[in-house]
Symmetry: C2
Subunit: 233 residues, 2 copies
């Protein structure tokens, strides 16, 4: 039998298993057995902890968002210069590539949010939090005289998050000419107009968010929190 776990531990594991399963099979297309397999359990065990599957899925989405947001906050926490902070924040809002697990999960939710109020609320809340995050950066930069804002800080922040979101979708959909770097470039174009700051990416800033290089012609590098590439539908 699989190693027995305490209720709390198992629930955490299940939430993560559900997250992985959803990324592979879709937020709405996941099956109980897929989650169970991902967790190394049987379906009965999953039901024991979550009699209603929907609860588990919601918790998994919630956890995924929380993780995504926390990662962003963490990445910019040490940066003092508003310009560098802004640049880093922009990068941290984009997927690292088409298989980025965190963003994949968020994209899954987009469609469902139209049909499911809970998901809609989750996404809306995340959006608002990200707007607040950008707004703070902008305001501080303006207060320090580094940024000359071309408009209301909330308006600019909303557009920054919107751009991030949209390019996230493009990258996930494997647009041929828009990858993470191109997206950063496009969003920075807007950010420059809005802040009146040149926003040059320093080597240091790039370093911080550059993925581990891929092997020359082997399989793509895999990083923690990333799931295997999806199968064709």
């Amino acid at each position: 039998m699989t190693q027995r776990k305490s209720r709390a531990d198992r629930r955490v594991e299940l939430i993560d298993a559900a997250r992985r399963a959803m990324i592979q099979h879709g937020a709405e297309g996941v099956h109980l057995n897929q989650i169970a397999e991902e967790a190394g359990l049987t379906s009965g065990a999953v039901l024991y902890h979550y009699p209603d599957l929907r609860d588990l899925l919601i918790e998994a989405h919630h956890a995924g968002m929380e993780r995504f947001y926390e990662q962003r906050v963490k990445k910019i926490s040490g940066i003092a210069d508003p310009a560098q902070k802004l640049i880093t924040t922009i990068r941290s809002g984009l997927p690292e590539g088409p298989d980025d697990a965190g963003v994949r999960l968020l994209c899954e939710l987009g469609g469902a949010a139209g049909r499911n109020r809970v998901y809609g609320t989750l996404l809306t809340t995340l959006y608002d939090r990200q707007v607040a995050m950008y707004q703070t950066i902008l305001e501080i930069g303006a207060a320090q005289g580094v940024f000359k804002l071309a408009g209301d800080s909330e308006q600019i922040a909303r557009n920054l998050v919107a751009l991030e979101d949209a390019y996230g979708y493009r990258i996930i959909a494997r647009h041929h000419s828009i990858g993470p770097d191109e997206a950063v470039g496009l969003i920075l174009d807007f950010a420059r107009m809005s802040t009146g700051h040149p926003l040059k990416e320093t080597p240091a800033a790039r370093q911080k968010t550059t993925r581990t290089p891929r092997p020359r012609n082997g399989a793509p590098a895999r990083r923690a929190g990333t799931t295997p590439p999806p199968q064709e539908a």
Copy 2:
């Protein structure tokens, strides 16, 4: 028995039925029977025309996109002034509300595009076409001296489409403070920076894309091409 139809007619009907069914139940959550019911047929009849359901779904998505794009082109076809043309184009890229059928379908696809190459390609193609559309408007405006572009026209166009996309998702997810009007405002803020043009919405322009007003406290107005509000999942 249901009215018999020619092969071609029936296929068109089925594509539309599939489109409606997908909006109600999700691009991946639709069931054959739901499509059949939407078409007023039995599942056997649907399979007779589309032995592989996936083909029907792809055609339905394709048709939905084509319709969406054609509607946009049509709305701006008669407008000569680049500024009004730009404003109208922006509005036409946004849903008219959270239940807008056309955009709902596109949103459904966002998540699936990460797992399904065909859907990814469809979305990518649509994005590129919309970028080209904006780019043309911008270039013409610049050539006429109406716009003073603050950067590369492709860069601006890409960001315009990206903003549209993202606010479409927000509106579909029922963001409490971002509706069609607010989204237009936010995108126009960016457009003004990019074109150096004040881009005032004339009453005439508003008229063209304003929804029929809702009854004071009855059910929301329903328009052609809109499906009934979704059930909770």
